[in-house]
Structure formats: C-alpha cells, structure tokens
C-alpha cells in the first residue's frame, strides 16, 4: 500500500494577551457621592463618598485575560477598572486618596506578581469635580 506524507500544519497565531495599548486620552475627575459607594479593600468591604475617576481612551482594547488592566499614578496602582465603550475604560480610585499633580501615568497589568507597566505621555492633573 502506498503511504502518504505531508508537512506539519502551521498553527494559527494565538492572540498576544500581554499586549498593552497606548493611552490616547485621559480625563481625571473627582466625584463626590451623595450616597456612598461600596468598594473592597482586602477582604473588607468599605464605603467611599469620594472617588477619583480616570476616564481613558486607548489605542486598542485591552485583551481579556486573568489579569486586569490597571493605571499607575507614579507607583500607586489604580486597580478597579471597567470597559465603558470601544477603547474606553474607567479606572476608579476609592476614598480620599491624594495624587500629586505631574506624577507620571502608566498603564499595566495587575493581579499577579510584579505588575508590568507601560509609561504614557500623560501626567496626573485633576481636571474637574462632580457630585452625583
């Protein structure tokens, strides 16, 4: 019986889940709440009547993976994030945390070991305040 022979199939490239997009725009807002909002800190649940929101537009959507996108203001990680639109993300820092104007802004991955970071062209500057 004749035998067959073929070359090995080329595997399709898997998506690069570690890819970090660039920050294209950044708006920083201090939000005060009439009714406090809940957040978690360690195993505890707390309430905050004030947060700082970072509304970010990126060059591409973050890949979906085990780790989560985080924003870094200097060395301080803002780890609560959610997608609010095409390439638009909201990062929230709970409580009355003070950031210094001019601190560098980086984007990175959080949730495992030492976070990977990518520096952006933006620095911290509180642009507006709201009450909700």
């Amino acid at each position: 019986m004749d035998e067959d022979f073929t070359s090995q199939e080329v595997r399709a490239a898997a998506p690069d889940i570690r890819r970090l997009p660039e920050i294209e725009s950044l708006q920083v807002v201090r939000v005060r709440y009439h009714k406090p909002v809940q957040y978690a800190e360690g195993a505890s649940r707390k309430e905050a009547d004030e947060v700082i929101e970072f509304q970010v537009t990126t060059s591409a959507d973050f890949p979906i993976r085990a780790l989560a996108p985080a924003l870094f203001v200097g060395d301080t990680a803002v780890t609560e994030s959610k997608r609010i639109g095409d390439r638009k993300y909201l990062f929230v820092s709970y409580g009355r945390r003070e950031f210094k104007d001019g601190e560098s802004i980086s984007v990175g991955w959080f949730g495992s070991g030492t976070p990977e970071r990518k520096l952006s062209k933006f620095t911290f500057r509180l642009e507006s305040e709201e009450t909700r």
């Binding site: 595997r11 490239a13 898997a14 998506p15 690069d16 889940i17 570690r18 909002v37 809940q38 957040y39 978690a40 800190e41 360690g42 195993a43 649940r45 959507d61 973050f62 890949p63 979906i64 993976r65 085990a66 780790l67 989560a68 996108p69 985080a70 780890t79 609560e80 994030s81 959610k82 997608r83 993300y89 959080f110 949730g111 495992s112 070991g113 030492t114």
Partner: protein, 843 residues
C-alpha cells in the same frame, strides 16, 4: 534500567522455587468465583478457604490477560480467609498471602458499583460485550431492548459476556450486576451502532518461536474472528473488541505465519488478513519492569510476552518465578538491591535480562482516583435569581451534576443515596474570559467525575463578572456569586423536587480557576451562611488581586500551578501554598508543560501563544481530574486517596513525569522550616546546625523582592540555599533521638535557577546520623531525582520547590530499627551549584 546479556551474569536458579500466585482482592461475601493472577502458564491452582481446600488442581490456563476466574463450590462468607498456590510438574509454590472476605455493603452501602460497558460502542451484529467495574464473583447480565441476551454468574472484574442472538439495529443495551441480591445501578445506556465498513484488518502482534499465545489487535467490538495458521483456518473466537489473546496448540515455531480475519454481519465481507511471521528465539527481548521500591515484595511487568515464564533474580539469586503481570518475591527488596528479570517463552529462553535497582522511593501506579463510578449522573441548570454586588445586578446561576437514578437532564436524585444519607457538595468558579464564552461549562468533565462518585458538583456561572476590567471588587463579586449559589442550594435542600434533603453542608468543597482561584480563597474569609463548613479548597492557577489575607487556613488546601503559563505568569498560587495553614494538609501540584487555559474546555487559546511545548489538552484535564478527585475523595468522602497527594502512589493516565508535588502536614515533627528568625546556625528545634566540607548555606526569603537569593523564587516563605564544593555537608541536630524505621524524612528542594539551565541535572543526598555518629546517605535520585527548572527561555523561569520523601527503611536497612540524632544534607555533585531547601520534617 539496563539490558544485560544473560551470559554476563552468574544467575543462580532454583527449580523448586516458584512464586505463589495472587488472589485478586477485594473479595466479598456471596461471590461465587475467585480470580487468581500471576501464575505460570498451564499451572494447576489450589484455593483454600479458612485452611480447607475448596478448589483443587484447577487448570490455570494462561495467566494473561485476566488470570483464571474459578467457580467456587459455595459462595464466600464475610470473615473467611482465602489463599491460593500453584503447582507444576516439578514444583509447588508456597501459599499466597491471605485475603479476608469482606461485606460489600460496608464499602458500597448504596449498592455495588455501576457496571461499565467496556468496550463501547456496541455494534449491530456484535456477539460479545465486555463489562467492567464489577465486583469479582458477582452476577452480570446484559439487556438489549429490555430482554436478557447474555449472562455470567461468578464474574471477573472485567467480564466478557457472549450475547445471543447478536445485537440488532438501534437496540438499547445496558448491563446490570448484583452481589448478594443487592443490585447495582444499570450501566450507561448504549444504542447499537452500525459497525465499521469495511472492517479494518486485525493484526497479530509480534510472536516468538516457542510461543503458545498470540495477541490480536484492531478487533471490532463484538466481532467474530478466525485465526489462520500458515493459511489454514484453526477456529473462530468471539471478542469484546480491540485486543484479544488466543491460545495456540501446538506452540509456534520460527518461520510459521499467523493471520486473523474478522467479521460482523452475515453477508458483509470479512476483513483482509495480514500475515505475521513468527520471530526467531534470538530476537526475544528483555521484559520491561516497573520501577521497584525498597520493601517491595513483588515485581510488576510492564511489557512482556503474555505466555512467558518470568524469572526474577535479586543480586543474581532467584527470588521469584511465575507468569506476568506481577511476580511475588520470597523476601522484600532492600535498598540498593540489583534485580534481573528474564522471560522464557516455551523452549525459548531470553538471552537478555532487564536490570533495575531497587530505589528508596518508586511509587507504584495504583489506579485512577477519578475513576470511581458508582452512580448514573443527572444534570440540571440552576437559577437562583439575582443579587446586588457592588452596585451591580448579578445572576445566580450555573450547572449542577449529581448522583441520579439514571443519566440525563432533570433525573431524580439517586434514591438509594438519598436514603443512605446526605452527600458532600463542591462549588466551582471559573475565571475571567470573554463573556461571550460559557466558561462555566468548561469543567463539566470534572463535575461528571465527582457526581458519579457521590458528590454534587456545581459550576457557578460568573460571566456577569467577566470582561476586560477587574480589580479587587471583581474578586469579591465572584465570591458573592459562589456564596449566593451555596445559599441557593441550601434552599433547594429544603423542598426542591430533586435536591430536597440530599446535601451535607458541613462538607463543602470549592474549586476556583484563575480569578475564580482567587475568589475561593476569599469565600471562607467572608462567608456567613449557617451550617456551611468548607473542608477543601482547590485554587487552580489563581491570581492575587489582594482581595483577602492571602493565607488559606482552616481547610485542606491545594493549588495546581502550570509552569508553561502565559497569563498568571508569577504562579501566585505558590504564595498561597507557602502561607497556608491547613486543617489536615496542604498540596501543591506544579505541572511542567501545562498552560493556564487548557483545564477549561471552553478556553481554547494557548495563553502562552505557542511559546512553550505543551502536553495535549486532555492531559491538562487529567491532572485536575486525578489530583482534584483524590483530594475531594479523601477530605469529603473519607477515602484513602491521600497517597496520590503525598507521592506514595501514582494515578493512571497522568503524565506524572511532568507533575511535581509539594505537601505538608501541620503539627508534624519539623526539624527546620527556617521561619524562626533565629538565623542559619539554629534550626526550628532550637538545636545547632553545622556547615562543613566547603558548603555554604544561609537563609533567604523565597519570594520576589529585597533579600531574596535571586529573582527566581515566586513563593512566600523563608528557606535555605546551600552551595559549595563537592561533598560539603549541612548538619541539623535533633532535640532528642528519633527512631525512624517506620517514619519518613521529608524535605522540599529545588535546583536554583541562576539565569541559565546547565546541561546536566544536579542533586544532593540526605543523611541520618545514628547515636554513635555514623551517617547513612540516600541520594535524591533514589527518591525521584531533582527536577530541572521548567525552561521559560529566561521569561520568569522559576526555582519551584518539590517535596521529597526518604522513608526510614532506606536508611535502616534489614536491621530494622534506627535511632538518629541529626539529619544531614550533602551536596555531592560536581560544580557546587546552589540548591534550595525548606521544610525539613520527620513524618
């Protein structure tokens, strides 16, 4: 292992020495047959019950494939002692070790195990079906469309049943069993399918001059096949399929040819025969033998000619002779013994022996902890409404598998199980993934395995929390969904048509993968549901968002960590393992060539993007199945499966060469865990340590960050790194003499990754110093060998410690008792490469 020509050896035979055969255990009362294995081909078998011969001079026939299942003159009764021996024309063996007859209702209070049709599928025109998962000596029968078509009373554990008439089209086929009039659940239902057309050729495996048994492979389930010897038809056999052993008389000679043709339905052409020539005696190879552990009283053959006589020599003196697959020895193996195994087929004596050395630790492959198959499995989706968590509305829903009266959706809970008592429950939570994918369906294989052994298995749909964002809130939301699902099932436990009064909430297990693995460490810290006790938690490659203390405590904890991880690349679960303060023990399963995603059937991509060589996906699942089931069976069902987690036995069907276990039992005699802050000069017993022979050792954080030995440590503990010249030693004194003959020295160790992986492996020796100052050494190669770091090409290659066992018998030897006053470590490899150590215990 090595192959050695017989002529180079001085083997001392003893023609009067033949090994006892083996009575297959367990034995249960009401059994009307007993199975004997491991005897010489054509030996005569005797069986005694309570010292009285009940079977005398029974023909054994061939020991392979399944030994001899001999009918008993009277059924067994619980408490009886059963033993067997074999006789040839020239020798009589000793009696085998006695097996006590038990009561199956003690081991299986809800009925005998569920028969399995094996092999499946079942084909139209099939004439024979194999049924496995049987209690030896039970009665088994097969129904086709509700009509009995075949039966065997006094069955073997895997029994072939001839069916008459042959199967018809689209028939519903099930197998049943009973022991002591106690019925098993029915087997899974199989519908007869059309057989393959054309029929594949059946092949004869290699056979040697002098052989009396041939192995046929490629047989279709239920086929009839004819054997052609030198082109002449010598007879017809029925088969349950795949492989079949056929006795030949007279024995074959070199130059003969054998072939097989198989058929199914009348009028359909038989398969094409393929001639296989009989090989000359000179080509008979050495048998292949499983690793042998000190203290072993038998040798297991992995590859051998089925009708061969197997001779086992220890230090060139014969210690056993019988047929495969297991040969009993006349005395236990001692450390360092050299074993030679030879096979003889008829008049053909193999000229090559297999040489193996007895090892301190060589755990046997004993079975599949996920294979316990007792019940049909029911399935439901559940919906517990919604909860509000951090201002968002989340759906409480998922899937559940449970022991049922029959397989399928919405089946009634198994009535005998329900009558017997409440059962444990396990909740599983997937991690983050594309919310368009039904991630919660990805552990259905694991849920099914747990359900068929009597554990309700729930997979929580956490897709409302999935997507591109995250954070600590997200982990809490997943925990809220798990807790809400637990609460929902507590509600179902009171009044639901399926689950009413079925679940024992003091026996809850959790499994979480990725962010789910993070959430299941949080759940025990925040859950406030009355009556819920979490006994076991599996954290499968968890993230660490900082949502909890990071210190699992109060339950038995396991983390499974894939080394070829492209997502949770820091293997944060190693920190959870190091920090864990478990109730009974903790376990770390570090898996080379495994990635993050392939444990979940819905997660299709390789998270490392092809960067590392991987085991196939099913082998990832086998790791979760085997070690996860071993944990839950031990902790939730009380089964003796902890041996799989303490590397005392190996599971079947797992690439265990890629699995590196760590394990620790709390409140054990700990010589040094290096966490005392008292420096390298004093151990955890407050006793002095000493470094000599050029060895240098110090304590370091085994974690990322300041003070670590280097950047390759990813846990969270303090340990010791030792390095230096060849034969440098580290001595750790005990605070009192300890007799170790029945105990074990445990130590965690790893080859330190220093930026590149050298070509050669390294290692060390463990020594024990007796009360007069003499030291006996055992090499880590005798305990499995120090694994190489998993090569991530510099991208977070890790120094990942593994626990090694050194049983005291390896040091004590035939003298028996050994009191020691110190434990030593010796670096006896060239090059002085550093080795990490931690948690030195005497268990």
């Amino acid at each position: 292992m090595a192959e050695v020509p017989i002529e180079r050896l001085d083997l001392k035979d003893d023609r009067q020495l033949i090994s006892p055969p083996i009575v297959v255990a367990p034995l249960y009362q009401c059994a009307t047959a007993v199975t004997i294995i491991g005897y010489l081909p054509q030996a005569r078998l005797d069986v005694q019950v309570d010292g009285v011969t009940v079977i005398n001079d029974a023909p054994g026939g061939f020991p392979m494939p399944n030994g001899a299942t001999l009918p008993l003159p009277a059924p067994f009764m619980a408490g009886q002692q059963v033993r067997a021996r074999q006789r040839t024309s020239t020798a009589t063996s000793n009696w085998s070790p006695e097996i006590t007859v038990g009561d199956h209702t003690k081991d299986y209070p809800t009925g005998p195990p569920r028969p399995e049709i094996n092999l499946a599928p079942v084909y139209r025109c099939g004439s024979r079906t194999g049924v496995s998962n049987l209690l030896t000596g039970c009665n088994v029968w097969i129904h086709a469309d509700g009509v009995e078509v075949g039966r065997v009373n006094g069955a073997a554990a895997h029994q072939g049943v001839n069916v008459n008439p042959d199967y018809g089209p689209n028939q519903n086929v099930r197998a049943f069993a009973e022991m002591c009039n106690d019925p098993s659940p029915p087997s899974q239902l199989h519908k007869t399918q059309e057989p393959p057309s054309p029929l594949p050729s059946a092949l004869v495996q290699e056979i040697f001059d002098g052989g009396s048994q041939m192995t046929v492979s490629g047989l279709v389930n239920g086929a009839r096949f004819n054997v052609l010897r030198n082109g002449i038809d010598v007879g017809t056999w029925r088969t349950w399929g795949q492989r079949h052993l056929v006795g030949l008389s007279p024995s074959v000679g070199a130059g003969e040819t054998l072939a097989v043709t198989q058929r199914m339905c009348l009028g359909v052409p038989s398969s094409t025969p393929v001639d296989t020539p009989v090989k000359p005696c000179s080509s008979l190879p050495a048998p292949i033998v499983a690793p042998i552990e000190d203290g072993a009283t038998s040798v297991t053959l992995l590859q051998f000619v089925p009708d061969a006589v197997i001779k086992v020599y220890v230090n060139q003196v014969k210690r056993g002779e019988s047929g495969g697959p297991v040969v009993l020895l006349n005395s236990p193996m001692q450390h360092g013994d050299t074993v030679h195994v030879q096979q003889i087929v008829g008049h053909c004596a193999g000229q090559i022996a297999q040489e193996v050395k007895s090892l301190c630790v060589a755990p046997p492959v004993t079975g599949d902890p996920s294979g316990l198959n007792l019940y049909p499995v029911g399935h439901k989706d559940y919906n517990g409404g919604t909860i509000t968590s951090f201002g968002e509305t989340l759906n409480v829903r998922g899937s559940v598998y449970y022991p049922a009266d029959d397989d399928g959706d919405n089946q009634p809970f198994n009535s005998r199980v329900k009558q017997h008592g409440l059962v444990p429950i396990v909740f599983m939570a997937h991690g983050n993934h594309n919310p368009a994918d039904p991630s919660y369906l990805g552990y259905d294989y694991f849920q099914h395995q747990l359900a068929k052994m009597g554990i309700v298995a729930v997979s929580v749909d956490c897709n409302d929390t999935n997507g591109p964002g995250g954070g600590v809130n997200n982990i809490h939301q997943r925990a809220d969904l798990i807790i809400a699902s637990i609460s929902h099932f507590q509600t179902l436990n009171s009044g639901d048509p399926v689950f009413d009064q079925t679940i024992e909430f003091s026996k809850v297990g959790l499994m979480g993968h990725s962010r789910g693995g993070d959430a299941v460490v949080l759940v025990p810290e925040i859950i406030a549901l009355p009556g819920v006790q979490i006994q076991a938690v599996i954290s499968l490659d968890p993230t660490e968002f900082g949502a909890h203390s990071g210190k699992p405590q109060g339950y038995t904890f396991m983390t499974i960590l894939p080394a070829a991880n492209g997502d949770v690349v820091f293997n944060d679960g190693a920190k959870y393992y190091d920090r864990a303060q478990p109730a009974r023990y903790k376990s770390q399963v570090y898996v080379h060539h495994a990635n993050h995603n392939f444990f979940n059937r819905q997660w299709l991509n390789d998270d490392a993007g092809g960067a590392f060589p991987l085991m196939p996906r099913p082998d990832h699942e086998r790791v979760l199945s085997a070690y996860g089931c071993a944990l839950y069976r031990n902790v939730l069902l009380g089964h003796a499966t902890e041996g799989f987690l303490f590397a005392r036995e190996l599971p079947t069907g797992v690439q265990t060469q890629n699995v590196h276990l760590s394990f620790e039992i709390p409140r054990t005699f700990t010589v040094d865990h290096h966490e005392d802050g008292n420096g390298i000069g004093t151990n955890s017993l407050g006793q002095p340590t000493a470094q000599g022979g050029g060895l240098g050792a110090d304590e370091y954080p085994f974690r990322q960050g300041a003070g670590a030995y280097d950047t390759s440590f990813f846990g969270d503990t303090i340990g010791m790194v030792a390095e230096g010249e060849q034969n440098g030693t580290f001595r750790s004194a005990l605070d009192k003499p300890v007799e170790i003959s029945t105990r074990e020295i445990w130590v965690r160790a790893a080859e330190v990754f220093e930026g590149r992986i050298p070509p050669d492996a390294t290692g060390f020796e463990v020594g024990v110093e007796d009360l007069v100052g003499n030291t006996r050494w055992v090499d880590v190669d005798d305990s499995g060998g120090l694994p190489r770091p998993f090569d991530r090409s510099g991208w977070l290659t890790k120094t990942m410690l593994k626990t090694f066992r050194f049983p005291g018998r390896c040091f004590a030897g035939p003298r028996g008792k050994l009191d020691i006053q110190a434990v030593l470590l010796r670096l006896n490899r060239r090059g002085g490469r550093p080795i990490a150590f931690d948690v030195l215990q005497i268990v």
